[in-house]
Amino acid sequence: MSALRMQMISPRTVRFLSRGRSEFLAGSNGAQRSGGGPSVRALTSPPLSYSITRRSLSSLSGTRRGLPKEKMSENGVVPRAKVLTIDTMNPTVKNVEYAVRGPIVARAVELERELSEGMKKPFVEVIKANIGDAHAMGQQPITFFRQVLALCSYPELLNDSAFPEDAKSRAYYILQSCGGNSMGSYSPSQGIDSVREDVAHYIERRDGGVPCDPDNIYLTTGASDGIMTMLKLLVCGEGANRTGVMISIPQYPLYSATLAELGAVQINYYLNEDKCWSLDISELQRALDEARHYCNPRALCIINPGNPTGQVQSRQCIEDVIQFAEKERLFLLADEVYQDNVYADGCQFHSFKKVLYEMGPEYSNTVELASFHSTSKCYMGECGFRGGYMEIINMDDDVKAQLTKLVSVRLCAPVPGQALMDLVVNPPQPGEPSYNSFIKERTATLSALAEKAKLTEEILNTVQGIHCNPVQGAMYSFPRITIPEKAIKEATDNGQLPDMFYCMKMLEETGICLVPGSGFGQKDGTYHFRMTILPPIDKLRILLSKVKEFHQKFTWQYS
């Protein structure tokens, strides 16, 4: 398989992508970008003239905004050049792109505003199916979790008979572990001790008794904090010795963005779309062998269940990956935030940790692994709490000391998020007052997701020109779309990537906000979009039929 045929997400491509954004960030038009010289923008002038909300602009009178410039021209003072310009800023940061919140989303926000101002559109609401934010799509929080967190927030409520006893005793237990019995105190940088112990017990239960040391657990600000921290720790060397990190294509753009920021080399390995986005070891080998010519590959990132691709890795595949990592001396980063989101029959989540231990001491004593989890996905969907943990296995003691030093920079993870993580790893037990309702709520959410995963796949596959692999797990479908030549040409003429062009048109005509596949990476010449399966089932049906209708119209229009 030739890599030449495939589209690499190189910095150049990323810069190309970013051109689309400038349309929506009116403050950054071409003239200013290329100039890089003195700018006349004043203290009182906002750098981005697009408004985040209607309110943000309405309060600013035109006079006040213009005043300083008038003064300046009176004085005739030539302002000094800026310290920080596009030419002097950190060059690696310039290469950072983040499609999940990219130009499509900016436009969606704008459309919402226009709708609220009464502007006529071909749709009545914008549906943001771009981001895995379950609560924003109407998923209900787990009552027990919220009760405990409310009690921890305002412990006076511990005297309130309306709260179940197990929620109270749990809140009491968490507060006992907080400095001054308050969630408002800093915790140790690595996280609250008792929470780390509970996480360790959870992992042991999940992995059928494989031991877990609380010292290896770090509580983080969402999983992304942990991922960024580990990558930062790993990246070193110059030139052909620069650290290379293997990531799947398609991938979650946090990885490419962080690697760009760190100036690390991104090594792409392609998932096999024809085999339900599975991972082939031969492809890993190809990518690695090619990369060894120009960098020092040191880490391999796996997202299981997959984002955006929704595949669930088989136990055998995980074993093969571990063998590969051992043979090639790669540090494994296992992003397992969707571990409870497994829907397809015959699929099961296997943690890398468990498989590693089952492979025997030859592997379990040597292969270095960091595994990530979060409170944002699964049946909880509590993105706003920014809770998460990572478990570090077989890490050199001295390096662990360095890691502990590195995490101290952000002082500690949010304590309410830590408390929530504790509840997730230690939910109500049989016999406790909240057990039944907890199980009922969790089951309802997970079975609804399973139903929606199936529905999405079924309906999308009825559309000619759309092919959707089974959504075995996670929260997204990543269907392949056929874009007619004429549309590709028009997009290219406009300086847009074809799938961006497609998604933007979809947004303008239907109000549906998706992320183009190019934001995640895809084989050259193929086009996709990522859509969450999160909307309530009735709404999802409407959404899917609108997608279907749009695709048919689009295809007809450009053929």
């Binding site: 004043a42 310009t85 950190n90 927030s153 963005a257 993105c383 706003g384 309410p416």
Partner: protein, 479 residues
Amino acid sequence: MSVLQQISPNVRNTKPSECTVLLRRSSQIKEELRRGVRRAYEKVIDVYWGDSHQTGVKPLSFVRQVLAACVYPELINSDKLPVDVKQRAQSLLRECARGSVGSCTAAAGVPEIVHRISEFIMKRDGGAPSYPENIYISPGSQWSLMNILKVLVNSEASPRTGVLTPVPCYPVTNLSITALGAVVVPYYLSEGQGQGWQLQVHELHQALESAKETCNPTALYVINPGNPSGHIQRRKSIQEVIQFASEKRLFLLADEVYQDCIHGEKSEFVSYKRVLAEMGPPFSDTVELASFHSVSKGIMGECGLRSGYVELVNVDPAVMKHIHILFSKDGCAPVLGQIALDLMMNPPQPGDPSHPLYHMETQHIRTTWVHNVKRVCEVINSLPGFCCQPTEGGSFLLPRLYLPPKAIQKAQEVGMQPDMFYCVKLLEEAGVLVSPGCEYGQKPGTHYIRFCITTPEDIREEFLKRLTSFHVQFMKDFS
């Protein structure tokens, strides 16, 4: 397979805190006491961090009531909470997607909250305009600072980027700077005899001159009110710093997280943003400034919620675009923290049902601070070999220790900095956890300890009792 030689050189090169040992020992002792091991004290008094809840200060009822109602909206229908609390929770939930604090927010934060922050800033700064587009909420001010530094520090340039930081300085900032591969350029604050610490511009000149050979100084970091120095800059001093930054082409990083911690009788906090705006052109439309604030300090003291914001002024639009992407990549700041920030900007007003209690609680906290500072300074200044400069703001005192030569010698024998040696003994023998001056940087041959003064009164008295008897004994032992 060890990867030690292969980790990020920037991370490897950052100096681990000397206090790691001290903090580890303190956790051990706390754990032993919990298990019932007998020591000369029953509890460790921990005044190491600027963490008032940790020392026993109660959270503000209004803040926690609103948070509880947002977390568990059933409470809005109950009679357990005051009406204005319920209303506030309701309106905040309307600003969260589908009324859940579990939803993500926009990268910069809940737009309405960001908007109200800009209104707060405008009011605070006597009308100097503030725009929501320039504000980003993040998981704590240190996180925002890190993001701004990521943009400022050129990771590929030689010579490396330099950032001027004060001595003494909050050490986490220096850690962040070195972890990004930049060079810390120290400038000394002057310890005026009896007038407290001061920032003097000639020290900035000197620092800049000395750095020019080794790095490319790009930014100037100031902490006002000072940590750990407790000084508050006057308007004139801020003007001088702005002029200096303008002349020397430095990006200003103003850490203003202690802006609400003012205890000097005639002291007033003036923000860098305000002074910059008042200076008019060419300064007001050219000098680039990032100003940081947080819910962790001040009256609220909600460190654990991890919430703060940065306001950017005069930053190039093309650069703003990349700053926006950096914050987007991080996901959003914790929503409860964002809500706390909103409550900090918009506390209950006279006439609101919650106002009387809120007023009482905040007044109590403020008067306790003022008393604490006065009382602790008096006691410390009455002790031999101890001298405490008057402070006006911040959460800390930083008294100077004049250690006997024998103590210094003993410290050297055991391989510790003299003030670290003092702190370790203070912890072991008296169960008081403070931090040594060496953690913050100090002039050679000078020694300090730092501790948090935002404690309840009874803790303060117990602290003073233990410190006094320890100190007297220490001085006697090493005389």
